[in-house]
């Protein structure tokens, strides 16, 4: 038997080798390198490295543009989470009923198609839709007697425009997740409540929502992590402008590292992003654990 066991162990390592080697080479080692780089100053021409301790972080934290980007990113997250998760839940609740086959096919196509298509491609489309003078959104608003809205060119509207497009694009993903969760709510609970004369609103708030609460927390976490990395849509729609009104943390990072050539501060700001993501995930686990304990108690 010993030889059989050895064979199994050897096969185990061999089967893992390709995937793990790729993972090491293109994710884990770069991750460690990024951590190292955030404490260093690197000359791009001579490839020499100076260890500078926390200087990069001091620089990033004292850079008002970083805080602008950080603030913008959190503004984006707060609104896009409300829009995506909130509307996603509403549409999922609406879809969670007997719907004739062809109609369901159409609904799934309509609500899910934007999720599948690249953020870059839909950003090109929306850039034209948002155009102030020639865009079709303003055309229809004019028909209604509303003056032109400077969707992408005013600093107060630009981020809202990015968020509207983001909700249109990503809502369908949360619809699918919520729908799967809602299918898991025990039917006998709902039927028993209905027999007792509970109104739909009561069934919704007392049975359905509490039952899928952990999924709601998951979706909020997921949307938050995605929102922390917002880049493609802003890059194409506004390129961070007007001014710095829509500049996000990832845009700041790419700008520092690749446009200004300061790799150390770029890596430092990326690391701040990673720590923030870790914090958000820890919060999710904390909240879900708290809900479980309370349910048991």
């Amino acid at each position: 038997m010993a030889t059989l066991r050895t064979r199994e162990i050897r096969a185990g390592y061999l089967f893992i080798l390709p995937a793990y080697a790729l993972y090491l080479a293109f994710l884990l080692i770069p991750l460690i390198a990024a951590m190292g780089l955030s404490f260093a100053q690197m000359d791009r021409l001579s490839w020499t490295i100076d260890w500078v301790g926390g200087e990069n972080f001091d620089w990033v934290f004292s850079d008002p543009r970083f805080w602008t980007a950080f603030g913008n990113t959190f503004y984006f997250i707060s609104m896009s989470v409300i829009g995506n998760v909130g509307l996603g839940l509403v549409v999922a609740l609406a879809l969670d009923r007997a719907i004739p086959g062809p109609l369901l096919y159409f609904f799934r196509l309509a609500y899910f198609l934007p999720v599948l298509v690249s953020l870059a491609f839909v950003s090109f489309i929306w850039k034209f839709l948002y155009s102030t003078d020639l865009g079709i959104i303003n055309y229809y608003l004019r028909q209604l007697g509303i003056p032109n809205v400077p969707w992408l060119t005013s600093s107060s509207m630009a981020m809202i425009s990015v968020i509207i497009m983001d909700v249109w694009k990503n809502m369908g993903f949360f619809v699918i997740i919520f729908l799967a969760a809602l299918q898991g709510v025990p039917r006998n609970l709902i039927e028993a409540a209905a027999i007792d004369g509970a109104r739909p609103w009561v069934v919704l708030t007392r049975i359905k929502v509490p039952f899928i609460a952990p999924v709601i927390v998951f979706c909020i976490t997921y949307a938050t992590i995605g929102g922390l990395q917002v880049f493609d849509s802003i890059k194409i729609l506004t390129n961070g402008g007007p001014g710095d009104a829509t500049r996000s943390v990832v845009m700041y990072m790419v700008g520092e590292a690749f446009d200004l050539g300061d790799l150390g501060t770029g890596a430092a700001s990326a690391l701040i992003l990673l720590v923030t993501i870790g914090f958000v995930i820890a919060c999710q686990f904390g909240i879900v654990g708290f809900m479980r304990r309370r349910r048991k108690a």
Binding site: A11, L22, L27, R97, A98, T221, Y222, L274
Partner: protein, 295 residues
């Protein structure tokens, strides 16, 4: 990223698709509202498609059209004549996505086989260490990867777009979940008959995973096809450019006045995804619902 397995994923099909014959009036109201919402969701795509079929001079004519009011393919022809080699980019996008998909599916299936079927010391630690990668934003590893690529002279080649995408812990994780839900009987009897692990993997485990492999392939292919940040930073020349960044440079060289040419490029870029989605819609939706993950 974080993951969550849904315990009722397998019953999803049955409930999702069952339609009763009697429909309550309240349900009709909800369906009408859903229908209006659905049309609004589709309008941007319909506008893109029908405007790409207008001649350039009429692209901006208002009111806009949402259904093609004419079939003028001159914008599509201009794509090939223009200063930007659109077909080359299309081919690049396809090559990058196809190579990435084949390698990722193959290596992650192998790893999943080991993680779900074989016992060996350290397997839990190795698997847990891969989960760390789910948390890492792609932007974070961009800087070291850029250096690595520059050091071996791969910047501005298709390899600089393919290689970083080959590390895909999410695919390993999903594949492992799929494989764990498969019955082991055939594999065990083949093992008793003296088949090697490779034979078992290649002849039994892989073939019975057909549907989930197809679904995962679509997800990996789409992710690669849609990637924007990596080519934006790693590629400068048209010869190695892929579609999302290519269209951004179309903006630069054509300007907004040639709206229908740009929209023709966008339409052609979306088309493969749309076709795949129309064929495998139910499939994709369920595999995403069952794992709760997307990348």
């Amino acid at each position: 990223m974080t993951m969550m397995t849904h315990p009722h994923a397998d019953t999803l099909t049955a409930r999702f698709y069952r339609a009763t014959r009697v429909i309550h009036w309240r349900n009709w109201t909800v369906m009408v509202l859903l229908g209006i919402g659905a049309v609004f969701m589709l309008l941007p795509f319909m506008w893109t498609f029908s405007t790409s079929l207008r001649p350039i001079s009429e692209a901006y004519r208002l009111p806009p059209s949402f259904l093609p009011d004419r079939l003028d393919f001159s914008s599509y022809a201009r794509l090939e004549d223009g200063p930007i080699p659109f077909l080359t980019m299309y081919w690049n996008s396809f090559v990058v996505a196809a190579v990435t998909t084949v390698v990722v599916i193959f290596t992650s299936a192998m790893a999943a086989f080991a993680f779900s079927r074989l016992r060996f010391p350290g397997s839990n630690v190795l698997f847990a260490s891969m989960l760390v990668g789910l948390m890492v934003p792609p932007a974070l590893v961009l800087i070291p990867l850029f250096f690595g690529m520059a050091a071996v002279g791969l910047i501005d080649t298709l390899w600089s777009l393919i290689l970083p995408a080959l590390a895909n812990p999410l695919a390993v994780l999903m594949m492992r979940e799929f494989m764990r839900s498969q019955p082991r009987e055939y594999e065990e009897s083949a093992f008793v008959d003296g088949a090697s692990y490779w034979t078992i993997f290649w002849r039994i485990s892989l073939p019975q995973m057909g549907p989930p492999i197809a679904a995962l392939s679509i997800i990996v292919f789409t992710t690669s096809w849609n990637n924007f940040l990596l080519p934006l930073v790693f590629v400068r020349s048209f010869e190695a450019m892929t579609l999302p960044v290519g269209i951004l440079s179309l903006f630069g060289s054509y300007g907004a006045e040639e709206l229908s040419v740009i929209l023709a490029a966008v339409t052609l870029s979306i088309l493969p995804l749309l076709v795949v989605f129309l064929i495998a819609q139910r499939f994709i939706v369920e595999s995403i619902a069952s794992t709760g993950v997307k990348k």
